[in-house]
Structure formats: C-alpha cells, structure tokens
C-alpha cells in the first residue's frame, strides 16, 4: 500500500470492494482528491496564447525533493520518530532525564540516539540533494519558444502556459501542449507514448486543420486568441477544450490534438504547440507528485528489510515492453511456397551487440535469394511474396541521402519493409495513389486502388492494387486463422505453411500469413460500388466498411508467412528459466495486446507449446465469473497447486475478475498456473494485481518494469525494480533497485538477494543474541541484589557495548558474510528456495537463538558469581566489590559474543578477523584506560584500579579460558551434530566449496539438487493431464499471430497513406527543413 502509484484514493479503498467496481469508480474517487477539481462543476481555465503575462499558472519547473531548507528539521524529526525504534529510544531518553529513574545515567541513551539521528540525517540530505540535482537536469533542458516575435532557446522550467513551443524530432515534450502545426502533411505527428502506457506502436496526433497552416514566424506573431479548457486532471486520454482565434470561429480540440509531457516526438521533423499545462499540472507529473508524497511516509520505514526481501521473492511481476523485450522488431524468418527460410542458428548476442544491431534486420538466409535468382520452381512465389511485403503496408519512405528511412506507426510493417529492402525489393516512393518499388534496378509502380484497413477484429489488412502489368490484385497479410478461412481451394502449400507457422509460434515469433488473389475488372467494379455506398454511410460506417471488405477478401492464394522477432533483451529466456528453477513465479503484466504477450511468453520460454492456455476474455461480469468457476472446477484437487498451465487475461476481464465476489477464486486459479499473462492493462490494474497477490498471499512480491506505466506496480510491490532503459526514468526513480537489463535480476535475486537475506538474518539474530546475553545478566544479578535495580556493569561500558565492543562483528556479518560463492548460487538456483521459504529466519529460529542467548547469559553470570562468591581470590587477601564481578562478567561477555560471531561466520576475511579480535582487544584497551579516568575526569570513580586487580587475579584468566569455552562448545557441538545428521542443500554446497577434491562429490550434490529441484518446480517434463471442459482453454498448438498497428486514431490508415507524396516532397522537404532550422537558430 505504501507505494501506490496513481492510487491517491487507495487508503480509503483498501476494502477492495471499491476496487472491483472498476477503473471508472476508482478514477472518479481519485479525482476528488484534487483540490483543483473538488467541486462537481467543471472549472475552466482560460489560456491566452502567446501572452504569458495574462496566464498565471504554476511554472514548468518540477521538484521531487522531500525537504526544503525550512521543512527539513521538523519533517525529518517527524519521520524519524514515527519509526517505532526511534520513538522507543526517545521515550527511554526522556525517562532517563528524570533523576533517579535510570540506573545507567542520563546520557547513555541520548548520545547514541543523537549519533544515529545525525548519521541518517546526513544520508537523507545527500539523497535529497541527488533528487534535487536530477530535477535540476530535467528543469534545465532546453526547448525553443516563440517570444518577442522570434524563436528563443529557453530552459524547460522557463516555459509558461500559453507559450508557443517548437519541438524537434526525437525530443521529449516539455509540457502538455495543444498541437498547432507540424512538418508532416495534414499537420500530423507521431509520438511515442511508451513512457505513459507501455504501448509499442506510435500514436498519431493531428492538429485541427483550421490552424494547421500556421508555421511561419509571421503567422505566429499574429496568432492571437485564447484556449478554454478544463482544469488539469490526471487522466491521460481525457481532454476537452476550445480554441478561440481572433477572427475565426471557435475550434474544438480534444485528446487527438493533445501532446503530453513525457512523450517523445517520432518520425516528425518538428511540431509547434501551445502549452496548456505545466510543471506539476501536467498529466504525467500530477501522478508523480503523489508518488513522492506516498514515498515520504513509507519508503523510510521499508528500507531496513528490503535487502532481506530480495532473498525471499516468490512472485515476480514483469512488464513486457522494454523489460523483457527491446521493443524492436526484426524480420527473422519466412516461409515461402512451403519452404522455410531464415537463420536457424541460435542467436545469443549479448546486450551491447543487441542494441547496436537492433535497427538491422536479422534475416540472413542466402538460400532465399539463390532460389529466387536461380529459377527455382518457387521463384515466382518468392517474387510475389516480397512484392507484397513492399506494397501492402502503410509505411512512408523518407529519403535520407542515398538511404531510405521508413516511417511507420506499426513496428511490424517497418520490419517487413526493411526486410524486403534487404532482399532487394526496395520500397522507394509513395504517392497518394501509387507505390513504387525497385527490384534489381527495375522500377515498378503499383497503383493503389483501395486499402482495406487493419483492425484487431479483422486481424488482417489488404490492399487492392493495379500491378505494373495492369492486373488487378488484392494483397493481404494477416493472422493465420483469418487467412486460412479465406483460402481458395486451389491454394498450395497450405499444410507445409501451417507446420512452419507452428514452428515460428513455438519460438515466439510474430507471424503474419501472406496471401493474394487476382481480381477481375467486373468483380472489382461491383465491389467498388458497394464500397462507395459503405463509405458514404454516416452511422456504423466502420462496421459497414468491414462488412464490405469481407466481400472481396476471399479465394486467397497462400504465398507463405513471415515471422518477426520481437527482440528479447539479452538472456531473457535463460534468466526466466533460472528464476523458475528458483521457484519464483513470473507474471507478465503488459499494456500491450494479448497476442503479443503470448508470443513473448513463448519466446522467453515462460510457456511451452504443450502448455494448455486458459484464456479469460469475457465481456461481462457473469461471463467472467462463469469461466473462472468452470476452470476452477476443472482443476479440482489441483487447484492451489502449481500446474503447467498458462493463464491469459485481458484488462477488461480483469476488471470483472477483481470484483470482490470472484477475486479470491480468480486468484486461486491464477496461483494454480505456472505462468500468468495479463494483457491490455492500465497502469492502475497492474498495481491492483500486485496488490491482490500481496494481500492474499503471504509472500514477497517483486515488480520489474521500465516505463511510467509500471510505476504503479513498482511502488506497490514489496520490492520495486526499475529498468533504466529506453522508456525513461520514471520507473527507475520510483524503484528500490534499478538495473540496466532484465537479466541482471538473476544476479540481483539469486546472488545479492540470497547474500543479503543471509546477512540480514545473521545480523539480526546475532544482534538479538548479543543484546539478550548482556541484558539478561542484569536480570540474574537482580536475584542477588534484592531486585533493587543495581546494575552490575559500569554505565558507559553498557552504553558502549553496542557502539564499540560488539559493533564490528554484526557489521562484518552483515556486510561480508556469504553463504556460498556467487558461482554456486547461480549454478544451483534451487538454493534460493532455502531462503524463500524462510527456513533461515522464522519464529522458531528466533526463539532458538534467544534461548541460546539465555543459556549463555546464565553461564556468563553464574560461573563468575560462583568463582567470586568465596571472596578470597586476590593476593594479599584483598576483597573485591560488585564492579569487580561486573568487569569479570563483562570481559567474558565480550569474548564470548565476539567468538560467537566467529562461529557464525562462514566466510572469513581480514575484516572478520579485525572485527572479532579487534573487538576483544578494544575492550581490554578501553578497560585499561578507563580505570585511570578518575579523578582526572569526573567519571567512573568505581572503575579506579579495577584493571590491575582484575588482570592480576588468577581467577580471571582461569575463567577467561573456561567461561567462553563452556558457552560456545555447546553451539559448536550442536552445529556438528546438525551438519552430520540433518544436512541441507546449503550445507552440501558449502562443504563442496571448501573441498578441493570437488569432482568426487559432485554427483552426490547433483542428486541432492535434483530432489530439491523436484520440490520446487517440475513442469517441463510432465504435460498437464487435466481435462478441461471450458472452451476458454486452448490446448492446441500456439498461433504466432501478432501485429501492432494504430487503430481508431484521428487519421485512418487510408488517410495516412493518401496524405503523403514522397515523390513531390523530396526536394521541398529538404529545403523546408533547412529553413526550419534557420528559423529556430
């Protein structure tokens, strides 16, 4: 709860009933959190364009710091004392100030407390300063603003509401803006919103045509008017406003004209926009604002057990885009005329290579070209196939010197066109009604007659062209299911292609089937009539059009299929399999499409082709409930156990599934599956899922993501990991740990998590132990002093116990201790389960340690007591006092406790030696010096002369040998017994490591390891044998279809294609671009 993002209203919503009411309700509730929008009447903000003085809104500078100069002290103190431990010590300190209450003086708690407060204060200041510097970097980024009739380069924080801002390609937008005009035809522009919603395809924004022409300085000077729009809120896709320009009728503007801070301009030379929301009022930062508020209160208290939690992660929630995948598509393989092409060797590039080669297409099978050129029987098909790839798409070519760049809102299409280009089929020019391709220096121009648009319903897109030879032809690419339905009886290679598709799908490649059909003139003309009618309809036009498309998309002849690789980050499959072996359950939560998510699950080996997949896609609560109930019923006894199943659910269904009534059932079902994929999720839903698991399962959750849309879950999970990747820094800034790539999770969890857990466990147990040992002695002493409260030790000796004499051993345990080497931990991921299950640290272990401490303190008190009871122990018959006994005991305590640390240490290094022997020596030194303090310093008169008497007493040395030995020999003994009788995997591996002749024993360990493995996970070998009756379960071979394309945008695909004339643009564009630059600078 502590780290809920977006969930400003979460606290009151904890009951989760509200959650299940779905986004709307939650969002509504959130709305009320904002004072800006507290009244139900929508307030209107009026923005005067290019007239900053009239606009009085917040500045565009952001600050994510926790403290200011003035708020530091009160806030810091408040935060510190809201920790139970600090509050406790404050209370003790206050009590100690009352004279006579404390037997150990007034300052013995106060001073250490002050030291601790000072140290953590410095840490806070340093961290806050880092945040301040990060903000400063953001605030001082530059952008161009039109002021005083010319363009000025200013810093982001100087941007005001009403400013006219120009942003160039690949730049991030400095504030929320209304698009006025852009370099592209029809004032379109592309933005990457991955940062906000995690979607891979670019979004198209288009300015209102009334203002689209405003490009030149002269026009901007005369741009005079105002924008009326709603007060800022935090909903990304909601915006209503009206643009009033002098001398023009009001123009309404909506989300399609809105450019948000945090998005990145792509494939567009430049845009001009008017700033409407700045700083914390931008849609992006408003959330963020709340994050930090939440962070303030909880992050501090959480940090202490965070490292330890890394070692116990049971559920891993991973984002897909940018986390598992690189978000780059590569044309990898294809099947043409029943022959499979593509490189079959495994690609195990490392990360760097990956990045540099990302833009390249991976297809490198020379056989394809050989077959094409050598007149293989299939060469005609190859030609047709590649031609189709070049023609049937919505990509815009852009000449850049001798090279051609492709702009596409669909990364799949870009990959295909690039792939074709590499094979010699170069798409060169697009005019509104034609496409020109170059094949082997020959130019072919295809006339584009119609574009039958893609939609996720249709799962295909077709294009009707007139070939250079004058034939009418329909090219289609789409999902195997829809294409196969429409194949002609004469179609060849159907079986082979299907087999190949299966191979592709199992590898997790995104497949598209490629088919064509020839049309006759009359057939086409008839259809065209229908099409025109459908286009003219005003209601349900899209539906009517789709019906119309159906008529002509038939009798396809199959050419083959393409396979596109949604590139995984380096070593993702390996990492996932290791993590699975470590008994970590992996859930993929993505905003992307279902098909894509399933594909990735295959490609990263999260699910195999034999894994039955349960699809939960329901459009009503009842349907969702029914499906969940059915599946739970089918699982029967296996419910709640881990099965080799995959659960796939979409955001819409999840909304129902999270309703209170079926939430638990859904969770049971999900926990019974080895892999869970949640698709099309809003950031809020991601957080909700994590919250659900966190609440109902007593297990540590970890969320990993890289985009702003992952911040919610990152903050919600116990451990949040941010990938500092392409999608920006929000995730990293809000995470507990940030890593560069998913694969580092393996090391983070298995090595550092395990080590840290081991260390923290040891450190905590040891700290408890040493304190119990010392302070219980006070209890034993009460038995002989009439329960009067007299302390047997000197005040400062007690106070310095944790500060000096026994401070180093827990530190070395906590910093340097290693249960086993990094190599072993990575080699045997099963070791992780030892820690995950909490065997190392639980109530039992804790009490055993406490009882052990009790026994030690018993020995440490009563042995010296019995030794000194006789009183005649010194030469010359001198008698002693209570502090003499105290010093005996204290010395023995320090020795015992330090040696106990040695017994606990499995990995000795020079610091361990320093800590253990140094601590003992430090006490002796302190004791020596301290005995001479009085009367030079007015402390410790009782200590005067103790050192001589104690050290010259033979009893002291006799006890020095005996007492610690007696205490520790039992620990040693039990440890030996345990190591002989009840040896776990950890002990085996430890022994293996310490032996030189490890080869002999290796097989034995391996046996052990296998049993541990079978305990943890046993999937890949056994197929699932559950009989599912519900039709939501897909047992068939996987389909690899996935395609991402902008849908339902302002600009339809047809409009987009018709808008560009790259033949004409070439020259004008270059000149225009240079003039743009001169305008700015």
């Amino acid at each position: 709860m502590s780290r809920s993002w977006l969930l400003c209203g979460m606290k009151p919503l904890q009951g989760s009933t509200h959650f299940s009411l779905g986004n709307q309700k939650v969002e509504k509730r959130m709305g009320c959190q904002q004072s800006l929008q507290s009244s139900e009447v929508l307030k209107v903000r009026t923005i005067y364009i290019n007239d900053p003085l009239k606009n009085t809104f917040c500045t565009n500078s952001i600050s994510t710091t926790k403290y200011s100069k003035w708020s530091f002290l009160p806030r810091y103190l408040y935060l510190q004392f809201s920790k139970a431990a600090n509050a406790f010590f404050l209370f003790i300190t206050i009590l100690q100030q009352i004279p006579g209450v404390s037997p150990i003086g007034q300052y013995t708690t106060l001073l250490p407390l002050l030291v601790i407060l000072a140290i953590s204060g410095i840490k806070e200041v340093v961290e806050d300063y880092k945040r301040y510097m990060a903000d400063k970097v953001v605030n001082s980024k530059t952008t161009s603003v039109f002021r005083q009739n010319s363009w000025h380069v200013i810093k982001w924080h100087e941007v005001n509401v009403g400013d006219i801002v120009k942003t160039l390609n690949e730049e991030f937008l400095p504030a929320d803006m209304i698009l006025i005009s852009s370099s592209e035809p029809q004032s379109m522009c592309y933005v990457a919103t991955a940062n906000l919603d995690g979607e891979t395809n670019l979004k198209i924004r288009q300015a209102s045509l009334e203002v689209a022409g405003i490009i030149k300085e002269g026009q901007l000077v005369n741009l005079d008017g105002k924008i009326e729009c709603e007060e800022p809120d935090r909903q990304f896709n909601n915006f209503v406003g009206t643009l009033y320009l002098r001398g023009k009728s009001p123009i309404s503007v909506g989300p399609d004209q809105m450019l948000l801070r945090g998005t990145q301009l792509k494939n567009t030379q430049w845009i001009i926009g008017v700033v409407i929301y700045t700083g914390f009022e931008t849609k992006l930062m408003q959330d963020e604002d709340m994050h930090y508020e939440q962070n303030d209160l909880y992050a501090m208290a959480r940090t202490s057990n965070l490292n330890e939690e890394l070692g116990q992660v049971k559920y891993l929630f991973s984002d897909k885009t940018g986390t598992l995948t690189c978000n780059t598509m590569a044309f990898k393989k294809c099947t043409i005329a029943g022959i499979i092409y593509g490189n079959h060797s495994d690609n195990t590039d490392d990360g760097n290579e990956n990045l540099s080669r990302a833009s390249f297409c991976e297809f490198n099978d020379p056989k394809l070209l050989e077959n094409f050129e050598d007149g293989h029987p299939s060469s005609e098909y190859i030609k047709e196939f590649l031609t189709l790839l070049c023609v049937c798409h919505t990509v815009i070519p852009e000449r850049c010197g001798n090279d051609i760049l492709y702009q596409a809102s669909s990364p799949d299409e870009a990959a295909l066109v690039k792939g074709a280009k590499k094979l010699g089929f170069v798409f060169t020019t697009r005019t509104p009604y034609s496409v020109t391709i170059e094949v082997m220096t020959e130019t072919h121009t295809f006339e584009i007659l119609n574009i039958l648009e893609f939609s996720s319903n249709r799962k295909r897109m077709s294009i009707i062209v007139r070939t250079p030879a004058g034939h009418l032809r329909l090219y289609c690419k789409g999902a195997d299911t829809v294409i196969y339905e429409r194949l002609s009886k004469d179609s060849l290679f159907v079986e082979d292609t299907l087999k190949h598709l299966e191979i592709f799908a199992t590898e997790g490649l995104r497949t598209l089937c490629i088919a064509y059909t020839d049309l006759t003139e009359t057939e086409y003309q008839d259809w065209l009539q229908e099409y025109k009618k459908a286009s003219a309809v005003s209601q349900n036009r899209i539906q009517r059009l789709e019906e119309c498309y159906e008529i002509i998309e038939k009798e396809f002849l199959l050419l083959g299929a393409t396979a596109i690789e949604d590139r995984l980050q380096a070593n993702v499959p390996e990492t996932i399999s290791t993590l699975l072996k470590a008994n970590i359950k992996i859930w993929v939560l993505t905003g992307d499409k279902q098909e894509t998510a399933v594909n990735i699950a295959f490609s990263c080996k999260l699910i195999s082709s034999t894994t039955p997949r349960i699809y939960l896609n329901a459009d009503s609560f009842e349907a969702a409930q029914q499906t969940i109930n059915h599946n739970c019923g089918d699982l029967g006894n296996l419910l709640g156990k881990e099965n080799d199943l995959a659960l796939i659910i979409d955001g819409e269904t999840l909304k129902y599934a999270l309703r209170f009534e079926i939430q638990k059932k859904f969770l049971d079902l999900a926990l019974s599956c080895r892999a869970v994929l949640c698709c099309r999720l809003s950031p809020l839903q991601k957080a909700e899922i994590v919250d659900l698991v966190k609440k109902h399962e007593e297990a540590i959750t970890l969320a990993v993501g890289d985009g702003a849309n992952d911040v919610g879950m990152i903050r919600m999970a116990h451990v949040g990991v941010g990938i500092s990747g392409n999608e920006g820094m929000q995730a990293t800034n809000n995470s507990d740990y940030s890593i560069a790539q998913f694969r580092y999770l393996e090391k983070l969890l298995l090595v550092h998590g395990t080590w840290n857990y081991f260390r923290v466990t040891k450190c905590i147990l040891y700290s408890f132990y040493k304190n119990v040992v010392l302070y219980i002695i006070g209890l034993w002493f009460s038995f002989v002093n009439g329960f009067s409260g007299q302390i047997i030790f000197e005040h400062w000796c007690i106070s310095l116990y944790n500060v000096i004499f026994t401070s180093l051993p827990p530190l070395t345990l906590g910093i340097f201790e290693k249960c086993c080497s990094q190599k072993s931990l990575l080699e045997y991921p099963q070791l992780y389960t030892v820690f995950q299950t909490g065997e190392m640290f639980n109530t039992k272990v804790f009490w055993i340690q406490c009882i052990n401490a009790l026994i030690h303190s018993f020995i440490l008190f009563w042995f010296p007591t019995k030794m000194l009871e006789h009183d005649m122990i010194l030469r010359h018959g001198y008698t002693t006092d209570y502090l003499f006994l105290g010093n005996f005991i204290y010395s023995y305590v320090v020795v015992t406790v330090c040696l106990k640390a040695g017994l606990e240490t499995t990995s000795w290094n020079r610091f361990s030696h320093v800590a253990i022997w140094g601590s003992i020596i430090s006490w002796i030194l302190f004791f020596s010096v301290y005995s001479f303090f009085w009367p030079i310093f007015s402390v410790a008169p009782e200590m005067t002369g103790q050192i001589n008497m104690v050290l010259s007493c033979p009893h002291f040395w006799m006890g020095f040998l005996l007492v610690p030995t007696t205490c520790l020999i039992q620990n040693f003994f039990w440890k030996l017994i345990k190591n002989t009788y009840k040896r776990g995997l950890l002990e085996e591996i430890q022994e293996l490591e310490s032996r030189k002749d490890s080869i002999l024993e290796h097989s034995e360990i391996f046996e052990k390891r296998m049993t541990a493995a079978s305990l943890a996970v046993s999937f890949s070998t056994q197929p699932c044998e559950i009989f599912f009756r519900d039709d939501s379960v897909d047992l068939s071979a996987p389909h690899g279809y996935a395609f991402s394309q902008t849908e339902g945008a302002v600009v339809t695909q047809e409009e987009l294609v018709r808008a560009y004339d790259t033949a004409k643009m070439e020259n004008s564009r270059i000149s225009k671009r240079s003039s743009d630059f001169s305008e700015i600078f």
């Binding site: 009439g786 005649m872 018959g877 006092d881 209570y882 009085w934 040998l961 020999i969």
Partner: protein, 343 residues
C-alpha cells in the same frame, strides 16, 4: 526519459574488492579427525587444570566461626538502639589443630547484608572521600545532613553502616599465658583506594578540617578518631573504613579485617593450639536476620579454599571427552549408513 540522466560513468561503483564483494575469504573447515582431536585435547587440558585447581584449593587452611548465636546476649542487647553506649564483649575459644603456615588473614563475614542494593551503592560522596570538599554530600541521600542541617562526614548509607565490631585474637600458650596475636591493621586495601580514591583533607590537625561536619548517626567516634595512634590510618585513610566502602557484590560477603604480623611465635604462621576471639560486639545483625562470622585463612597463588573453579574445569573436561566419543560414534554410524546406502 532523458539521456542526461544516465551518468553511467559516475554511477559506476569503484572496482575494488570490497565494493565488488570479492574480498579474499576462506571458510573454516575441519576434518572429523581434527574436530575429534580438538575436543579430546581441550577436554584433557580442562581436566588437568581442574585437578590442579582442586588440589591447590584443598591445601588452604580455613577456619570460620559464626558468632551470631554464640554471642546471643550481645546480639539481643544490640537490637535495642538505646543501648548504644553500653559495651558488650563476647569471647569465643577455639582450638587450632594444625599450624596455619604462611600468611594468615583474618576476615569478617556478613550474611544477608545487601551492600549491593541500588540506592545503598549510590549513597556516597566520592568528592568528600577524596578530601576535596568534606562538605560535599550531594549524592549521599538519605544520610546527607543531620537534623540540624550539618553535613555528615563521611556521608551516605555505606559509611553510616560501617562494620564496627572489634575482634582480637589471643593465643593461649598455657592457661596462664594469653598472648594477643600481633595483627596488622593496614595493608588491607587496594593501592588505588589508599592513594587515589581516599584522601584526607590534611594529615595534620585532622579534626580541624572536619569542623562544620557531623559524624554519621550510627558512629560512636568521628572519622578523625578511627585510629588516633596512626595518622596514616586515620580519617578517610583508615583501612577498615576503606575496605568497608568497597561495596560487595553479594549479600553474603567477606571483608579483610587483619593480617597476621609474623613475629616471634608467629613467624611461621599460626601455631596449632588454643585460641580465643575476644569480640566487642557493636554491629547489629539479628534485626535483619543477618549473621556474622570471623574467618582465619591462609591463601595460595589462587586465593582461598574455593573449589568451584576446579570443579567447573574438571566437569567441563569430562563433558568434552564424552562429547568427543559421542561425535566419534555418530560419525561412525553415519559412515556405515552411507556405505550401506551406496551398496
């Protein structure tokens, strides 16, 4: 979102062994043989030390005479505070069967007297005892000042409750020849007590320096008359006083009272024979169900006749031996199991 954010270089941790967690480390690993040897050897060592300690403790000669009941009359009398000015002596004859060779020490021992009580321990003024300021009675509650608001010297509960019995040992060589055994009343304290913690305001005219103070309510003489014969043993420097002021750890404790002055008949120690303790009984103990005793003892290098340490060593040694055999048995069993498992 911003490239500038990724200061990769500056964030790169230092490539040192500590920061990369690659410090050379080794694991303690003992073979079964080594563990067995360690246990066995430690056991043998402990056992030997134990026997040595026991033998040396048995060599010590010690006589303890509890005179709470023997001097019952005096005890009764002391229960009434009004009898404070009356003398009461009590003599206890005893027979020493064997000569106590070497240095002999005389202790008094109190039973049930909690010198380690929290408020009792605090109730003293270190500054006063150092002779810095005899009127400094800050920490001495509840014996800071008299009812007339005159500061008490030495103040505090410890000083006020000082043991004030006088014990005289006489050697009865024959029925007619009673020789008072020569005893030293100095050299009973830690060096630091006599020379650091306790100082008189001045040696000369000691009484002058205590003008303006009052003796503790339970005392019969003021501090400067504790030993008028020896100025080095008078005032705060009085050995009996200093010994008393070192507060004992247990409710039953001994304190060094006198040392044998080894001259004439006593040059070898206390010869066997008949002796008498003549005790002037001043210190009441029956009121708090306490008891008191007088002890004569010789000492060895390791102190008195306590056998605890010797016993503890012996028992630990035996236990370690047993453990080592147990370990051997367990390991043998496991090896057999492993072998049969493999077959």
């Amino acid at each position: 979102m911003e490239k500038e954010f990724q200061h990769h270089l500056s964030r790169m941790p230092e490539n040192s062994a500590i920061k990369q967690q690659k410090l050379p480390a080794h694991r303690l690993h003992f073979s079964n043989q080594a563990i067995f040897t360690i246990f066995f050897a430690t056991g043998a060592f402990c056992f030997c030390i134990g026997i040595i300690l026991l033998l040396s403790a048995w060599k010590v000669q010690e006589i303890e005479i509890n005179y709470t009941n023997i001097c019952e009359d005096c005890a009764k009398m002391r229960e009434n505070a009004l009898n404070f000015d009356k003398q009461c002596t009590c003599s206890i004859p005893f027979n020493l069967q064997k000569t106590m060779k070497g240095d002999v020490y005389m202790y008094y021992k109190l039973y049930g007297f909690y010198q380690n009580l929290y408020r009792y321990v605090l109730s003293r003024s270190h500054n006063q005892l150092m002779g810095k300021d005899v009127r400094d009675v800050k920490d001495c509650a509840p014996f800071k000042v008299t009812s007339n608001k005159i500061p008490i010297a030495p103040c505090g509960a410890i000083a006020n409750s000082m043991f004030n019995d006088t014990i005289i040992l006489s050697y009865i060589r024959s029925t007619s020849e009673h020789i008072q055994v020569p005893m030293l009343k100095t050299g009973l304290t830690w060096w630091t007590d006599k020379y650091v913690k306790f100082q008189n305001p001045s040696f000369r005219n000691l009484s002058d320096h205590f003008v303006g103070t009052e003796k503790p309510p339970y005392w019969q003489e003021p501090i400067y008359e504790l030993d008028t014969s020896d100025p080095g043993n008078n005032g705060f420097l009085n050995d009996d006083f200093i010994v008393w002021m070192r507060t004992a750890a247990f409710p039953t404790f001994k304190k060094l009272y006198r040392r044998l002055y080894r001259v004439k008949y006593f040059s070898d120690g206390l010869p066997a024979g008949n002796y008498t303790f003549d005790i002037s009984y001043n210190f009441p103990v029956t009121k708090f169900q306490g008891e008191k005793a007088v002890i004569l003892s010789t000492l060895t290098w390791n102190g008195g006749s306590s056998i605890f340490l010797g016993l503890a060593y012996t028992v630990t040694g035996v236990f370690l031996w047993m453990s080592s055999f147990a370990l051997m048995a367990i390991q043998g069993k496991m090896r057999k199991k492993k072998l049969s498992h493999r077959r």
